[in-house]
Structures are given as structure tokens and as C-alpha cells.
């Protein structure tokens, strides 16, 4: 996923050139390895990593079969300081089907300090501690993504002392890393769309359970790739804290990046006027002004998700729970306007542009003013002013042609 979301298309040619160089380098390395070690079974060297600098090839004298002779068997464990057991088993089948396994990366390319058996002593307080000691290996090849995560809400939670704050392997796993992008198109693989919420669900299961029953989640599960998954709103790697004032003020941009795009919306007959109608209303005006002028400030004026739901976003025309049902809309209004009564929801134009059919009173008030009262009043005044001014000019000229005209306008 990272490839798609974080690499601008402009950098593609440069990368292609870099890949060519890397390929040459690796051909050389391959030859050296063959000569020196007499081993033909170092597939790692044959597969240049797609993205960043190549992993510095570690001691390839240790091939995976050496490691797996112990770690490939279930039941291999070690005791940790807190008395829990660390599972040392790596499923060879699972690893060989991971993106790293497929590309032939060797165990020791990540586990660089491990050395030959007997290993240097490894101690960890508990299983989490063990994972935290090992995951920085991802940085060797994926430094860009690694650094992006350092600003994320996960890293901040972690820095604040929550050791459960997600690190690379929590989402990607250690040994079963799946390729999310299709290398041919550079886009997320069709089947990978569903992996994303499932991945986040490992830690955010309550939210996922909400999401999967929403207009977006349901469509996703039914195989529709048009709908947003977690990362479309929250981003990848540098996932920001969604509870900040800033996130709240920016959130309409997230929704409208799709919902004002006719290419995406026309297919489903969804209006793309949602942003303009929101911004022209009192709520949206305030939020937009705050976003522009005080992006860190707190405002309680509603943003999209206050009415449409955060993770439980439903179709507005859902016959039971949709906002088209008046009582449902009133309930939403009452969250912020506790005293609102049955007629109150009509004070919000429901994203409609007033027309003779929808909100005719507003339509006719505008019509009356802009096509009758303002032109008639100002036009009448304008005509009289122009005539008065014209007459005074004529008088001034007649009384005192070509000269200064003190009090010429007085007849």
C-alpha cells in the first residue's frame, strides 16, 4: 500500500533508473557470491527490492534452511523474564508465501545480529518487548515508511508510554507480509482492499464491527473497490490523531475529496453539491473559516461526521436509519440542539440547492430580492441619480461654459 500512497508518479522514472543500477549491482554481487561461497542458493540476490536501497547483504553463509532446522518446527519456545514464553516457530510455508519469502529474502537479512548457533544471548521482558526489539529491522529497507510512522498517532501513543502503540509488524506481521499493491498497476490489489480494515481490526475491532455494517463497509465486503477503507480517511504510516481539533476541522476535506468528484459519484447518483451547500450554510461557513484561520481551534459546529456518523456512516435513504427519515434527522439535530422540535430540521436545507420543488420559500425569497426588489429599487434610484447628475452638469456648462462653476447647479 505504501508504494501507491506515498510515491508521487513523478518519481517513477528516477526510480526506474535507480532500479537499473541496482540490478547491475546485484548481478555483480550474485557472481561474487557464487564464486566465493560456491552456493547457488542465494535467491535474495536475484531479486532486487523494488523500492529503496538494497538491504546490505548480511552473512549469507547462513541460509534459511539452517535457521528453519530449529525455527521451522512448532513448539520451539524460550522463556522470557516475565515468565511468558516466546514462540520461536516460523512457519516455513507461511514465510515462503509472504512477499519477502517470494522474493527470496533470507532470515538473516532482517535478523542480522543473530549469527550462527549458538546465538548471542537474547533477553526480553515480555513478548511485546521482544517484538519491539526486532521490528526496527524493517528500517533497513523501508526507511521512508518507518520514518513516516514516527509522526503517527501510534508512535505518539507509544512515546507516551503505551507499549501497544502499533509498530510495523503489528500491521504487516513479521513473517507473513503480504504485498498490497499490484506491481503492474501500482494500485491496491483488488483483493487487498478488504485486508486493510481487517488489519486495523486487530486492534480496533469495535470500530471495525461498526464499519462493516455501513454504506462503505458493506459495499467493500461485497467486493466494491470504490468505497473508502480505513486508510483513505486516516492515511497510512503517518496516521494522524483523529481526536484533535485540527482533524475535526479538516475532516470535511476528507469526505469531499470523494464526494465532490463527479467521476466517482455519478455512478451512484450521489450529489456532488454537498460541500458548497454545507459551506454556504451557517455550520459550514464557521467550520471553513476556522479551518482557514485557526486550524487548531476548537469549534462545536458540526462537520460531516457529526450528522452522518463517524464509522457508522449509513445511506441517507436507508429506510430505517437514514437521515431522510425525519425523526432520525431530528435526533441528530438534538445532539447539539437539545431543545429542537419537530419542525426544526427544516431549517437545514439538507444539502439541497433551493428550487421550486425543494425549499421553495428560500428559492422565492431569493428570486424576489435578486430579480425584483434590488433591481427595481436600485434601478429607480440609479436613474434618478444619473438624471440629476446629468442635469447639474448641463446647468453648470450652460451657465459658465468652459470656466469654473461655483454654485452652478443652483437654478
Amino acid at each position: 500500500m505504501s508504494f501507491n500512497h506515498e510515491t508521487s508518479p513523478r518519481s517513477a522514472p528516477r526510480r526506474a533508473a535507480a532500479n537499473k543500477k541496482l540490478l547491475l549491482l546485484f548481478c555483480g554481487l550474485c557472481a561474487c557470491a557464487l564464486l566465493l561461497l560456491g552456493l547457488g542458493n542465494s535467491p535474495a540476490a536475484a531479486a532486487a527490492p523494488r523500492q529503496e536501497a538494497s538491504p546490505t547483504l548480511g552473512p549469507l553463509s547462513l541460509d534459511d534452511s539452517y535457521c528453519l532446522s530449529c525455527h521451522g518446527q512448532p513448539g520451539s519456545t524460550m522463556k522470557l523474564e516475565d515468565g511468558s514464553t516466546l514462540d520461536l516457530f516460523v512457519d516455513p510455508n507461511e514465510y515462503s508465501h509472504s512477499i519477502h519469502g517470494e522474493k527470496g529474502y533470507a532470515c538473516v537479512q532482517c535478523h542480522r545480529q543473530i549469527g550462527e548457533y549458538p546465538h548471542a544471548p537474547f533477553t526480553a521482558k515480555d513478548r511485546r518487548d521482544a517484538a519491539l526489539q526486532l521490528y526496527p529491522a524493517c528500517y533497513f529497507c523501508h526507511s521512508g515508511e518507518y520514518e513516516a510512522t514516527q509522526d503517527s498517532v501510534h508512535a505518539r501513543a507509544f512515546d507516551a508510554g503505551n507499549k501497544e502503540g502499533a509498530v510495523c509488524t503489528d500491521c504487516h506481521t513479521a513473517h507473513a507480509v503480504r504485498p498490497i499493491n499490484d506491481p503492474a498497476t501500482g494500485k491496491i490489489r483488488p483483493d487487498a482492499h478488504l485486508w486493510i480494515p481487517e488489519t486495523c481490526a486487530q486492534c480496533h475491532n469495535a470500530i471495525y464491527q461498526k464499519y462493516r455494517n455501513t454504506v462503505h463497509g458493506e459495499a467493500l465486503i461485497n467486493g466494491n473497490p470504490d468505497v473508502p477503507t480505513c486508510i483513505d480517511c486516516h492515511g497510512v504510516h503517518n496516521i494522524s490523531d483523529p481526536t484533535t481539533n485540527q482533524f475535526r476541522l479538516n475532516s470535511p476535506d476528507i469526505c469531499t475529496s470523494c464526494h465532490t468528484d463527479p467521476k466517482r459519484m455519478d455512478k451512484y447518483g450521489i450529489s456532488t453539491d454537498v460541500l458548497t451547500t454545507y459551506v454556504s450554510d451557517f455550520h459550514g461557513t464557521t467550520v471553513t473559516l476556522f479551518e482557514k484561520q485557526a486550524p487548531d481551534a476548537q469549534t462545536n459546529k458540526p462537520v460531516c461526521y457529526d450528522c452522518h456518523g463517524v464509522h457508522d456512516i449509513l445511506r441517507v435513504d436507508d429506510p430505517q436509519k437514514g437521515l431522510h427519515v425525519r425523526e432520525n434527522l431530528l435526533k441528530r439535530c438534538q445532539v447539539c440542539h437539545p431543545d429542537a422540535t419537530a419542525d426544526f430540521p427544516d431549517s437545514w436545507l439538507s444539502h439541497y440547492i433551493p428550487s421550486p420543488d425543494k425549499y421553495p420559500m428560500v428559492y422565492y425569497v431569493n428570486l424576489f430580492y435578486y430579480f425584483f426588489l434590488i433591481p427595481v429599487v436600485l434601478g429607480g434610484m440609479g436613474v434618478l441619480v444619473v438624471m440629476d447628475f446629468g442635469r447639474s452638469m448641463i446647468n453648470r456648462f450652460r451657465k459658465n461654459p468652459g470656466g469654473s462653476s461655483e454654485e452652478a447647479s443652483h437654478v
Binding site: 486487530q202 476548537q298 462545536n300 420559500m361 430580492y369 434618478l384 440629476d388 448641463i394 443652483h410
Partner: protein, 393 residues
């Protein structure tokens, strides 16, 4: 020249101090309302953004707008009270009221502009331009007040009127603002600032020449001595007895109206609505990873000592060491069979019967930190067993 000087020095009172004060306060509140309102109406334009930021944000802009509205309402009610006093008590002519004459004046002026007529219409105390403006102010203030109330108190409005009145009020409020501001700029500015700079609203006075030009009928009335006659004290008192209760009623209802305006309802909560309400961090129950099933050590059969390979140690090594030293022979060592355990691996014999110190298994285990580290108890039992000759059965 002397006549002209005389004409300039002769002054006529046009506006009293109270009227000038009213105008001043109205001017300030109107300007503030128009300014703070229009920048909200066109909030997306860069100019509006600049001024809104200058004023300290949209919330402050709204507060200024609301306070200016309150000031304007106060001036308006004061004006109504004064007006009623003049009409009911002093019974002065209602000079601001437009009559058919005014329409005639417009037509006469148009004829004059077109050169059909030699001179302007003969205006009374107020010209049709002033009357039109006054009417516009009255209409505008009432409409802006009413629509402003609806926007300020949408919940209460929706109790009595269809909810759609609120966005309709907003539309009217904004459009009326454009009309009012443009009318002031076009009509008012032209007539009293551009055409001639009429300072009487600030000085209160007009000179003779201005009177001749703008209010010839009034001048004529003054000069003919047809001014208002003094009212007898008794009549005045009688009229005041009617006026004062009426004024009190108006004041009370206005005070209630103002209270309603400002504090009638709690439109909305002051806290931020909560976003996601479910627990954020909820792990799924993890799928258990495959674990080795630890085969229980077989109960020693007859003739098998518990302190023997078959009795205890085959099982111990199978459970704790066989991952590496079983089928797989890490370091060449397998502890699967007694014979192999004695033979050991690359670094030497695993078990030397009778000599635990020379047994590599013991040596490695005693260093500690081995992946399959035995507990101290287990290791001691192994040492004891080896020192006892490491019996197989």
C-alpha cells in the same frame, strides 16, 4: 456680495441634538452591521477572510454584529417613542410621511431633468429622496430585526413557524443587507455628500441659501410666521396622560423583546459533540499459534528406574531439547537416543557417564542462556544422574 453673506449667516435649525445623536448612533451601528454582516455573507472571499481575521475570527465578528444590532434596536425604540410623543402630544405635522405630492415631485423633477420644466419641484420639510430613505430604513430595520430574530433564535422560531422560515430569513437578511448598503452608497451618499455636502445632520443647521434650494416651502412658512402654535398647558397634560402609559407599554414589550432576542433560548450545546463513541483499542481474540504437544513422560515400567534415561531423561530431553537436538541435529547433537546423547556433537561427548563435569551437555547448560535452558532443579537431576553413571534403564 453682501446679500450673499447675509444669506450665509442666516441659519435655520434643521435637526435638534436628539435627532443628530440618533443619526450618529444609527450610523455607527448600521455601518458595523453592514460590515460585519457582509463579510460573513461572502465569507469565502479573500477580502472577507482578511477582515474576519482582523476582527479576531468569525465568532468575534458575530458578537460585534449582535451587539450592533442591539444598539440599533435601542435607537429604533427611542425613535418610536419620540415620534409618538410628537404625534400624540405635540401634534406636529407628520412631515416625513410620504404623500401623493411626493410622487408628483418625482415626476416634476424628472420633467426638470429632461428640460421640460424650468425648475425643480417645490419640496416640503422633507424631500421625496429623504422620505424614500426614511421608509427604507423603517422597512429595513423591521425586516432585519424580524429575520435576525429568527436566525438568532431558530429553535423558538421553529416552534411557531415552519422550519424553512429560518433559511428563508437568512436569504432575506442577506439580500436586504445588500440592498440597504447599496442604497446608502447610491442614494444617500449622492444626495447629501456628492451633490452638495450637507452637514446639517452634524451641525443641526442650514443656511438661507440651502433652505431656498432644498426646502423652499418650509422657508416660506417660517417667513410668513406660520410656525406651530404653543399648546396650552392643560391640553398638554391631558395628552401626556395618554402618552405615558402607552410609552410604558411599548418600553416593557420592547424590553421583553430584547430579552427574548438575546436570551430566549439555548440554541445549542457549548461542548463539542463526541466523535467515535466506541472503545478505540479493542483487540480481536488472537488465533492461537501451533504449539508442540508435550508428550507426557511414560510411566516407568517394571525394571525401569526413575533415575534413568528411559525413566526420566529421555522424556526431559524430548520435551526441552528435541526441537533443535532431535530429528534436527543442531551442532551435530541429537538427544533422541541414549547412544547419540553419549556420542554428543561437534564440541564433544554430550554425556560422559560418571563425569558430569566432562559432559558437554552439562557444560553448555551451566553457562546458562541456552535456548532450551533447563531449570536449576532439572539440571541438578541431570548432573546427579550422570554422576551416578547415567544408567539407561
Amino acid at each position: 456680495m453682501s446679500k450673499s453673506n447675509q444669506a450665509h449667516s442666516q441659519e435655520y435649525v434643521r435637526f435638534g441634538i436628539s435627532q443628530r445623536l440618533e443619526h450618529g448612533i444609527f450610523l455607527v451601528s448600521f455601518s458595523l452591521l453592514g460590515f460585519t454582516g457582509l463579510i460573513q455573507k461572502f465569507a469565502e472571499s479573500p477580502i472577507s477572510l482578511f477582515f474576519i481575521e482582523l476582527m479576531g475570527g468569525v465568532e468575534t465578528t458575530r458578537i460585534i454584529h449582535h451587539w450592533s444590532a442591539i444598539v440599533m434596536m435601542l435607537v429604533s425604540v427611542y425613535h418610536v417613542l419620540v415620534l409618538l410623543y410628537k404625534i400624540l402630544v405635540l401634534r406636529v405635522p407628520w412631515t416625513m410621511m410620504p404623500w401623493l405630492d411626493d410622487l408628483k415631485h418625482v415626476l416634476q423633477d424628472v420633467a426638470y431633468y429632461l428640460g421640460i420644466r424650468k425648475q425643480r419641484a417645490q419640496y416640503g420639510h422633507f424631500t421625496y429622496a429623504e422620505k424614500a430613505e426614511y421608509l427604507a430604513v423603517v422597512w429595513g430595520t423591521v425586516l432585519m430585526g424580524a429575520t435576525g430574530f429568527m436566525m438568532w433564535n431558530p429553535i423558538s422560531t421553529a416552534r411557531f413557524l415552519p422550519g424553512e422560515f429560518i433559511p428563508a430569513a437568512k436569504a432575506a437578511h442577506g439580500a436586504e443587507a445588500i440592498l440597504a448598503v447599496l442604497a446608502i452608497l447610491l442614494w444617500h451618499f449622492y444626495h447629501v455628500h456628492l451633490k452638495t455636502f450637507n452637514k446639517s445632520m452634524f451641525t443641526g443647521k442650514l443656511n438661507r441659501e440651502q433652505m431656498e434650494h432644498e426646502h423652499p416651502v418650509v422657508l416660506q412658512q417660517i417667513e410668513s410666521g406660520a410656525g406651530p402654535k404653543p399648546i396650552p398647558a392643560e391640553t398638554l397634560k391631558k395628552r401626556q396622560m395618554i402618552y405615558y402609559p402607552l410609552a410604558a407599554v411599548i418600553l416593557v414589550s420592547f424590553s421583553f423583546g430584547l430579552y427574548a432576542f438575546i436570551g430566549y433560548e439555548n440554541t445549542s450545546i457549548t461542548t463539542v459533540p463526541r466523535g467515535e463513541t466506541v472503545e478505540v483499542y479493542v483487540r480481536v481474540t488472537p488465533v492461537p499459534r501451533p504449539t508442540a504437544t508435550m508428550a507426557p513422560s511414560p510411566t516407568p515400567g517394571a525394571g525401569v528406574s526413575s533415575n534413568s534415561w528411559d525413566g526420566s531423561f529421555e522424556g526431559l530431553f524430548r520435551n526441552r531439547c528435541s526441537t533443535c537436538h532431535g530429528t534436527t541435529k543442531v551442532g551435530g547433537l541429537t538427544l533422541a537416543k541414549y547412544k547419540d546423547a553419549l556420542a554428543g556433537g561437534k564440541t564433544g561427548p554430550g554425556i560422559v557417564p560418571g563425569e558430569a563435569d566432562k559432559s558437554v551437555l552439562v557444560q553448555v547448560q551451566q553457562q546458562g542462556g541456552h535456548p532450551g535452558q533447563l531449570t536449576e532443579e532439572e539440571l541438578q537431576s541431570v548432573i546427579d544422574w550422570i554422576n551416578a553413571g547415567a544408567p539407561e534403564k
